[in-house]
């Protein structure tokens, strides 16, 4: 197991410029039903700060499946469609998924969405003969496992112009992602729920007063 990677992502909120290229790259790579506003990764465009104009700032907040160590979407899945690889990536087998949506209810990160029969029909028109989806399911980010297994980075990381997204191996002490996580600079979301998320964020908020 020592040689098995444990994949994780670090997102630096300081360098995300909100270009949404990650959303576009992911949508094309994974053929998500964008015509129905369904995304594997999404960049929230938010304002934070107090009510005075000087304090308000714009924040882009990318989010995706957190590939939890203890994924609630997997434990509630009645068919075993949602499963976890040894390398930490959580995948969905659409051959097994019956679309009960228990995973949607269980996910604290709002990372799951339907791929309906209508979406499949629309996908045939949108993606043409390259469309690979054949069955309805409840989809989610796969960390582009098909690319990672070929030694590539996930599409969203590859395309990120601000290098806000970093992908790496937590089991490799020399990996930049592992260092950012180990030093505590990058923190997980809602870790108190016991999910053991593997997407970590570097905050863009600093104390200025």
């Amino acid at each position: 197991m020592a040689n098995t990677p444990h994949y994780a992502m670090v997102i630096d909120l300081n360098t995300c410029v909100g270009c949404n290229a990650c959303m576009a790259a992911c949508a094309l790579e994974n053929q998500t039903p964008v015509w129905d506003n369904k995304w594997r990764t999404y960049v929230h465009d938010m304002e934070i700060g107090t009510s005075t104009d000087d304090d308000v700032r714009r924040r882009f907040f990318p989010r995706l499946c957190n590939h939890c160590d203890n994924p609630p979407c997997m434990s509630v899945c009645p068919t075993g469609a949602t499963h976890k690889l040894d390398n930490g990536i959580v995948l969905v087998d659409d051959e097994l998924c019956m679309g009960c949506r228990a995973c949607v209810m269980a996910c604290p990160y709002d990372a799951r969405y339907d791929v309906t029969s209508d979406d499949l029909e629309q996908g045939d028109k949108f993606f043409g003969e390259l469309h690979y989806r054949t069955r309805p399911s409840v989809d989610k980010c796969s960390f582009c496992a098909h690319r990672v297994m070929r030694g590539l980075k996930p599409a969203c990381v590859e395309t990120c112009v601000g290098s806000a997204r970093m992908f790496g191996d937590l089991n490799d002490p020399n990996d930049e992602v592992a260092k950012l996580v180990k030093t505590g600079v990058a923190k997980p979301l809602m870790a108190h729920l016991g999910t053991g998320p593997n997407v970590f964020y570097i905050s863009d908020i600093e104390r200025t007063t």
């Binding site: 995304w39 465009d45 509630v76 068919t79 009960c100 949506r101 269980a106 399911s137 905050s203």
Partner: protein, 354 residues
């Protein structure tokens, strides 16, 4: 991370609430009618009414759940009993098996009574089908108590799983706590006894059942009293607990459907009616108890309805997928989603695309 957002969900709504209600009611009806027949008072008619009604309830509920699925063919994966070995951590897997085997054993338990009743044996189609299973009816009589217990165990599992299913969603404070399975358990048995009281008063109508009816009424008073106490505990938990629980409290305790519909008319009024019935009596009139039973049944549904709608998620960003699925279903906005809908436009998906 600073700045959390709170939202309800519109993925499992009234459709699933009806399923949870029918599952709890049907399962508990089988438990009560079979145990009554085995240990309290042999009562063939009660078993037939209880188990056939439960069969219909669970069939309708399961059909609703089936319709809700995205891939209907894939349901075969969860109907296979081996799923309990490969997915023992999934309550839906357990629930599916409990329901299937509850239906099987409760019908086999009821079969001898159906075969000796002209109403059923002379019924077109049903009578013919029953005729094919004469052998099974005879076998069932030989092993009647064992089969009864198999039905009871699976029916109890069906009741318990409805609450455990909600408890298995960790992101929502209202659901992810040990009180939910207990509340759903008590509510299921309360509604089942109310249903069987209606059967005894309106369908079977036998004078010799007086003792049984009084026993059921006393049991129901105790169950409604326990349910009221659990609701009070939930009130305390949601009003002084986690932030998402406090949002739940704001939804529930500002909604007249919950306060008046469920708490007052679904619990307090039937409790008072039945309490007077078991202490001083109603002068031989069955109307108050029938009314109380109907109110308990309505309250049982409302409990599950509001539990589905009032579960609040806490996230560091606004919900996207759940809001989107909500708009697809074109259902009434849940209260917290109404608040989210009023947020500045840059939170909305429309601005993202536009």
């Amino acid at each position: 991370m600073e700045g959390m957002f709170y939202s309800t969900q519109n993925v499992w709504t009234w459709w699933i609430a009806i399923y949870l209600f029918l599952g709890g009611l049907g399962g508990a009806a089988v438990v009560v009618s079979c145990l009554t027949n085995m240990y309290f008072k042999p009562h063939k008619q009660l078993v037939v009414w209880g188990n056939i009604s439960a069969f219909i309830m669970l069939s309708v509920g399961s059909l609703m759940l089936f319709i809700h699925l995205l891939d209907h063919w894939a349901v075969i994966n969860v109907l296979n009993p081996m799923i309990l070995i490969t997915k023992p951590d999934a309550w839906i897997a357990w629930g599916t098996q409990f329901i299937v085997w509850m239906l099987v054993w409760s019908i086999i338990y009821t079969l001898p009574y159906l075969l000796e009743t002209k109403f059923w044996t002379e019924m077109p189609v049903v009578g013919t089908i029953l005729g094919w299973f004469n052998w099974l009816g005879k076998l069932s009589l030989k092993l009647h108590k064992l089969i009864g217990w198999l039905a009871v165990i699976n029916a109890f599992g069906t009741v318990l799983y409805t609450g455990l299913l909600l408890q298995s969603f960790p992101a929502v404070a209202l659901w992810h706590n040990p009180g939910v399975p207990l509340l759903f358990l008590v509510s299921a048995f309360s509604t089942a006894i109310a249903f069987l009281l209606l059967v005894l008063y309106l369908a079977i109508k036998q004078e010799e059942d007086h003792e049984l009816r009084v026993f059921y009424e006393r049991s129901d008073v105790i169950l409604i009293g326990i349910e009221l106490m659990i609701i009070f505990v939930f009130f305390e938990y949601t009003t002084s607990g986690l932030e998402s629980a406090r949002h739940t409290a704001q939804i529930l305790w500002n909604d007249m459907g919950w306060i008046v519909g469920f708490v007052v008319f679904g619990l307090i009024v039937p409790f008072l009616i039945e309490f007077k019935g078991v202490t001083k009596g109603w002068g031989g009139s069955k109307v108050p108890i029938v009314l109380a039973a109907v109110l308990v049944l309505g309250g049982g549904y409302l409990l599950r309805h509001y539990f589905m709608y009032a579960g609040v998620y806490e996230r560091p960003y606004p919900a996207v997928n759940i809001i989107r699925q909500h708009s697809e279903l074109k259902l009434e906005l849940a209260p917290t989603n109404k608040v989210l809908a009023l947020l500045p436009s840059h939170y909305s998906m429309a601005s993202k695309l536009g």
